[in-house]
């Protein structure tokens, strides 16, 4: 379905967002066309090692700019030394990410202790919320049933009183 474009699309919406956050200096562009049977290729342009580094980025030495497109978009940053392409069609977004990390030799960003705390507390909140919503759903439904019975009874009384 969708001729294998679901993986690339999910990659763009989910993984590329995270990549861009951790590597803001790396230019990332996406080109889309309406033709389904077109290819879906990601081209990663590497510049020479002397190019200005982005501090705090997760990519290692080669300063990469990646463009996910059906046709290659030239980058207007430092001149490209070499280009690697990844074919994304019919692959899930996780597979695409794995291949990408292999090609660029990217280092995954570990969550810091504070971020782990935040994630854990959010997860607990979510579990608590699910439990609470189940309970309150029961209460609400019970109330609704009682009101329905009452309305019915009132309706019957009104009919009988006539």
């Amino acid at each position: 379905m969708n001729d294998g474009h679901m993986g690339p699309r999910k990659f763009w919406r989910q993984e590329l967002v995270r990549l861009k956050y951790h590597n803001p200096a790396v230019s990332m562009t996406v080109e889309r066309s309406t033709v389904q049977h077109d290819s879906a290729t990601m081209s990663i342009h590497f510049t020479s090692e002397n190019a200005p580094q982005t501090s705090g980025s997760a990519t290692s030495a080669p300063n990469a700019t990646s463009s996910t497109s059906t046709d290659k978009a030239p980058s207007n940053a430092a001149p490209t030394e070499r280009v690697e392409t990844i074919d994304m069609k019919f692959k899930s977004s996780n597979e695409i990410l794995k291949e990408f990390m292999q090609v660029t030799r990217a280092m995954p960003v570990e969550a810091t202790a504070e971020e782990r705390e935040v994630m854990r507390s959010l997860e607990e909140q979510r579990i608590r919320g699910e439990r609470d919503s189940k309970l309150s759903l029961e209460v609400r439904q019970k109330k609704k049933r009682e009101e329905a019975i009452l309305a019915q009874a009132k309706g019957e009384v009104a009919v009988a009183a006539q």
Binding site: W12, L16, V17, R18, L19, K20, Y21, P24, A25, V26, S27, M28, T29, V30, T54, S55, G56, T68, A77
Partner: protein, 312 residues
């Protein structure tokens, strides 16, 4: 003692003594005789029977008086619980959420939350940003096309100039402009043409209040082409403040200009209504809203500087 009797219709305890309140025709009840059946068949008389029941009867307020007190100011969130960001941090998040989109389609927008009473005057003005967001604005001018004003308007860059042709086009539904100006002499014709129903909801109807009825059309067209308009709706002033490609310094200048302009407007109307700036939120077309804490960049960004945030 007789067994306690309940009024069958209101289920209140009908006490023995108060039956003496009724007319003499009803037989007096002594504690030792069971009540006659006839009494039980008169529920309406027994309704207001018990003194006790009267004392604790729920007072039914008539529906017209039953009303919750409405708030007079808009609610503002408590900023002590808010997570706030520096400008560079916020831009980093917003750029990430807009990754891959065409660079001219996504814009940054700023929302200023004001602490203001609900029924007061609203802030409304036009501003020229240091780095304009939208540079291609189609302006329509209502003036006779051969008059000097009409020609000046055309020279200044108005897209459509004229009178009757414009009215006809609008009536047909072809509204091909983003702003509309009117010369003072053509105002009467405009009112007669009854275009308020079409242009009014769009905010395009020229009026004296919005400074869109002018004498010097050429200068107004030039001024309008670079200016963005803002307006307070429900206690919030929102305006587009940058394109995605803007750098952090450009954004800072735009934000400063905008906030200062709004503050000046608020001071101008402060004698009638008390207005106060409460919160500044930066957002983008496809991104979340992030509350700004006023600083340009924080030190703990992993070294991501303002320059890094500028690449698309």
């Amino acid at each position: 003692m007789a067994a306690p009797r309940y009024c069958p219709s209101c289920l209140s305890l009908a006490s023995q003594t108060t039956t003496t309140l009724f007319r003499a025709s009803t037989p007096r009840i002594s504690p030792f005789t069971p009540p006659p059946q006839s009494l039980l068949q008169q529920p309406n008389q027994l309704r207001a029977a018990s003194q006790n029941a009267l004392k604790y009867r729920r007072k039914d307020v008539p529906a017209s008086q039953k009303r919750k007190k409405a708030r007079s100011t808009f609610l503002v969130p408590d900023l002590r619980n808010a997570i706030q960001f520096s400008l560079v941090e916020a831009m980093r998040y917003l750029r990430a959420s807009e990754v891959g989109r065409p660079p001219t389609s996504s814009k940054y927008e700023l929302h200023l939350r004001l602490r203001t009473p609900k029924n007061g005057a609203v802030v409304r003005n036009r501003l020229r940003l240091p780095h304009p967001v939208k540079t291609d604005l189609r302006i329509c001018v209502i003036a006779p096309s051969d008059s000097p004003q009409g020609l000046a308007a055309k020279a200044a860059g108005a897209v459509i100039v004229g009178e009757e042709e414009i009215f006809l086009a609008i009536k047909e539904g072809r509204v091909e402009f983003d702003r509309c100006l009117c010369h003072t002499d053509s105002l009467a014709l405009l009112q007669k043409a009854n275009l308020g129903r079409i242009l009014g909801p769009k905010g395009l109807m020229p009026s004296v209040k919005t400074n869109t009825v002018v004498k010097d059309v050429g200068a107004s067209v030039r001024e309008m082409a670079g200016a963005s308009e803002y307006r307070e709706r429900f206690g919030v002033v929102r305006m587009a403040i940058g394109q995605l490609g803007f750098s952090a310094e450009e954004m800072q200048r735009n934000i400063r200009a905008f906030v200062e302009s709004v503050k000046r407007d608020m001071q101008g109307i402060s004698d009638q209504t008390a207005k106060d700036l409460h919160e500044v939120v930066l957002s983008s077309t496809n991104g979340p809203g992030l509350s700004l804490n006023g600083s340009f960049s924080s030190g703990e960004d992993g070294g991501v500087g303002a320059r890094d945030v500028s690449t698309l």
